[in-house]
């Protein structure tokens, strides 16, 4: 009798386990085809390698429309205004957050994470890199574009990036230069290298007129203690910190490799790869290119360090996130894809394929560190990632372009940084005024 009870219990347990093993949250969506829109970017190339595994596990097919990221943004802008969109999931560049959320074109993700049939309890959202989530995923909190009591989640970082300092270990060692930890050391090193190593520039940086010059300037503005606006949206870009950042950029470009002032990110990275500069401070996304001997003459000679500290630590945050458009057809299946891609498992898969992790735990993963030894440094850098290094507001495009052309004038035409930034501040205030940012002042 006893043994029979035991046996029955055993069968019952086995049966429960069997149903548990068979439970398949993806079942209702099997055979669905998702259409997604992503940028042509190393991270999303890595994602392409991972997607077949998703289809195999879930039975959900994925059709990918990959575009150059600015073209992608243009396409999405049109796509999202339609009543019925073609895309079930989109990857969006961070500054699109302001536009899409403001125009009410992205799904609020709360209802999906609340849905027990969709949300995976083992997802562990607290492991997602908080600087990225703040920068790319959340809107509606502080200043409107940051997290806060009133904020909510519209996207999940995927293919996000921060800045690190890449330097030539061999050159630094040869001349006994220490790896810069502060901005003073950074600027000293940048101008010392062309003296001791003729023909080599100190640091390769973006500087081309427009967005690139603005990006390069803002990269130094946050660590040097500056901001574009204060809490009341008054421009403070022209204060001492702003001038210091402009001077830092000018020093770097002046001591940089030849032709620096027209570099975009690709040219700056190429200069570093070809050994024309001893340092390169930009997105972590470039690291895999430096280590690839087929396109880099400096593979194996590059060290990585944290973005140097000015008044504070503050590396950039940027890159892409993924979201579900309001006009998508298969929203629930799209959520399942999003969740799978950014789960611990999906994140590691894409990282091993050469993508940028979205989770702290992935950066600590032993296997990943073995394949990409710089991963631990990048994980460390992310602790200082500053989600507020540039404002993500609808008027930003215009202000960004103005900062960029003014900086370019500082770099190439000798315009005084204070004068340039005063001009930017004045015009930025007019733009903000017109957009209604001073309505409550």
């Amino acid at each position: 009798m006893l043994s029979l009870t035991y046996r029955l219990t055993g069968i019952a347990v086995a049966a429960t386990m069997a149903t548990a093993a068979m439970a398949d949250p993806y079942e209702p969506y099997r055979g669905t085809t998702l259409v997604i829109n992503v940028p042509a970017h190393p991270h999303y190339n890595a994602m392409m390698q991972v997607l077949p595994q998703f289809t195999e596990e879930t039975g959900i097919e994925v059709e990918v429309d990959q575009l150059q990221y600015l073209k992608m943004r243009e396409r999405q802008t049109l796509e999202l205004t339609k009543r019925e969109g073609d895309y079930d999931m989109i990857a969006y560049v961070v500054f699109s957050k302001a536009d899409y959320v403001f125009a009410d074109q992205l799904e609020n993700l709360a209802k999906y994470f609340m849905n027990p049939k969709l949300a995976d309890p083992s997802y562990d959202a607290s492991d997602l890199i908080d600087g990225y989530v703040a920068n790319i995923g959340v809107a509606g909190g502080d200043k409107g574009y940051l997290p806060g009591q009133t904020g909510s989640l519209f996207g999940i970082p995927y293919g996000s990036e921060t800045s690190v300092l890449a330097y030539r270990k061999d050159i630094f060692e040869k001349h006994g230069i220490d790896v810069p930890e502060t901005y003073d050391q950074l600027l000293d090193a940048a101008c010392k290298i062309p003296e001791v190593e003729p023909g080599m520039g100190g640091m390769a940086s973006r500087a081309a007129s427009g967005h690139q010059a603005s990006h390069a300037f803002l990269l130094h503005l946050a660590p040097l203690g500056g901001r574009v606006f204060d809490d009341k949206w008054e421009p403070i870009i022209n204060n001492e910190a702003g001038v210091a950042a402009a001077n830092a950029l000018k020093t770097i470009v002046d001591c940089g490799p030849e032709g620096s002032s027209t570099f975009g990110p690709a040219e700056a990275a190429a200069a570093f790869k070809q050994g024309q500069a001893a340092m390169f401070m930009d997105s972590i996304a470039f690291a895999s290119g430096f280590e690839d001997p087929s396109q880099s003459t400096v593979a194996g000679k590059v060290g990585y360090a944290l973005h140097p500290e000015g008044v504070r630590r503050g590396s950039q945050t940027g890159g892409f996130g993924i979201a579900i458009p309001k006009n998508a057809e298969n929203k629930e299946a799209a959520f399942l894809l999003m969740q799978w891609l950014t789960s611990k498992k999906g994140d590691k898969l894409v990282a091993m394929a050469g993508g940028n992790p979205s989770r702290f735990s992935t950066y600590q993963d032993a296997e990943l560190n073995e394949k990409y030894p710089y991963s631990a440094t990048f994980g460390e850098a992310l602790k200082y990632a500053d989600p507020d290094w540039r404002p993500i507001i609808p008027t930003w495009g215009k202000i960004n372009a103005d900062i960029g052309t003014s900086m370019s004038k500082v770099l190439t035409e000798g315009l005084d940084p204070q004068e340039a930034l005063d001009g930017v501040a004045e015009r930025a205030r007019a733009i903000m005024d017109e957009a209604g940012y001073y309505t409550w002042n």
Binding site: L70, T77, D99, G210, G259, P394, K409, L411
Partner: protein
């Protein structure tokens, strides 16, 4: 009566399809652009949701330093490139208007630059102007000269885009002038030769005046194109350094794509359209005046006889 009416309508009925196609294909987009220029419209909105702001886009633009600078750059660019291209193009045509062996091959080679896609032209020149690996600076260095900041200094960058444009578009003027030259009445040239005109005199008193109608149309076409040039400069400098090469069409492109202000971009396009329209009308009036003068002269000559 009925039949007469129908008869009178017939030509219009036959023309109607063409007219409708024309109206839809031509007037609709222009009308759309004019309408859009009165809106405060960002691309995340449907056009119906955009706010009507009257002339404020036009007024704001006139007060916008960047727009004014860009307009100035465009005018300067168009004036310089078209002048130089006309001189070089017509000059080349005059030189090559003779029987040379292999002329047809030469002609094909001369017009090659025009046939290359503008994006490719931009990329090509950008690499040639490259500060370290570009052919120009490498040559300068091998000659022991200082490298030139082709694209990284404002006035050099402006010169560089002018050089690229001249390289690409001189052939256009060359080929049209050559065609004009070769269709000139041989009798006039022969007569002048018999009268003892030197080759220079032939060029100045016979060839150029007779070519004038073609040259004016060519000039106009080039001028319109020069005002709208986009891709080559976009690829070469993207308007930089500063705003030194930011021509109007590039500014329009950025206003729509980067600043996301479709209304303002439409207003800018309309300014450009008005500018080109004025030019065309001026050319047309000039042409009329010249023709009238010629007619008067002919009439006077006829009176004498």
């Amino acid at each position: 009566m009925q039949t007469a009416n129908v008869n009178r309508l017939t030509p219009y009925l036959f023309m109607a399809p063409a007219l409708i196609v024309m109206a839809v294909a031509l007037m609709y987009p222009i009308g759309y652009m004019i309408y859009a220029s009165f809106l405060n419209w960002n691309p995340s909105q449907r056009i119906g949701e955009a706010e009507w702001v009257g002339f404020s886009n036009y007024i704001n633009l006139l007060q916008d330093d960047a727009f004014r600078e860009s307009l100035w750059v465009t005018l300067k660019f168009a004036a310089i490139v078209v002048t130089l291209e006309m001189i070089i193009g017509v000059g080349l045509a005059l030189l090559l208007d003779r029987n040379i062996r292999g002329m047809s091959v030469l002609r094909t080679i001369f017009i090659l630059p025009m046939m290359i896609a503008p994006i490719v032209v931009g990329l090509m020149w950008r690499y040639m102007y490259h500060p370290t690996v570009g052919i120009f600076n490498r040559t300068l260095k091998s000659l022991g000269l200082e490298p030139i900041p082709w694209l990284s200094d404002g006035s050099w960058a402006f010169t560089s885009v002018i050089i690229a444009d001249i390289w690409q578009w001189t052939p256009f003027i060359f080929i049209l002038s050559l065609a004009a030259l070769q269709s000139l009445p041989r009798s006039a040239l022969e007569a002048s030769r018999i009268d003892g005109a030197t080759p220079w005199q032939q060029v100045i008193y016979i060839k150029l005046p007779l070519m004038m109608p073609v040259l004016i149309v060519t000039l106009l076409l080039r001028l319109i194109d020069a005002f709208k040039v986009l891709e080559v400069i976009l690829v070469m400098t993207n308007g930089g350094p500063g705003l030194s090469t930011e021509i109007l069409s590039l500014r329009i492109n950025r206003t729509a794509a980067e600043f996301r202000e479709l209304g303002e971009a439409a207003a800018m396009s309309n300014y450009l359209l008005i500018l080109l329209l004025l030019l065309t009308v001026a050319m047309y009036l000039y042409n009329k005046a010249v023709e009238a003068r010629a007619a008067r002269l002919r009439a006077a000559a006829g009176g004498d006889a």
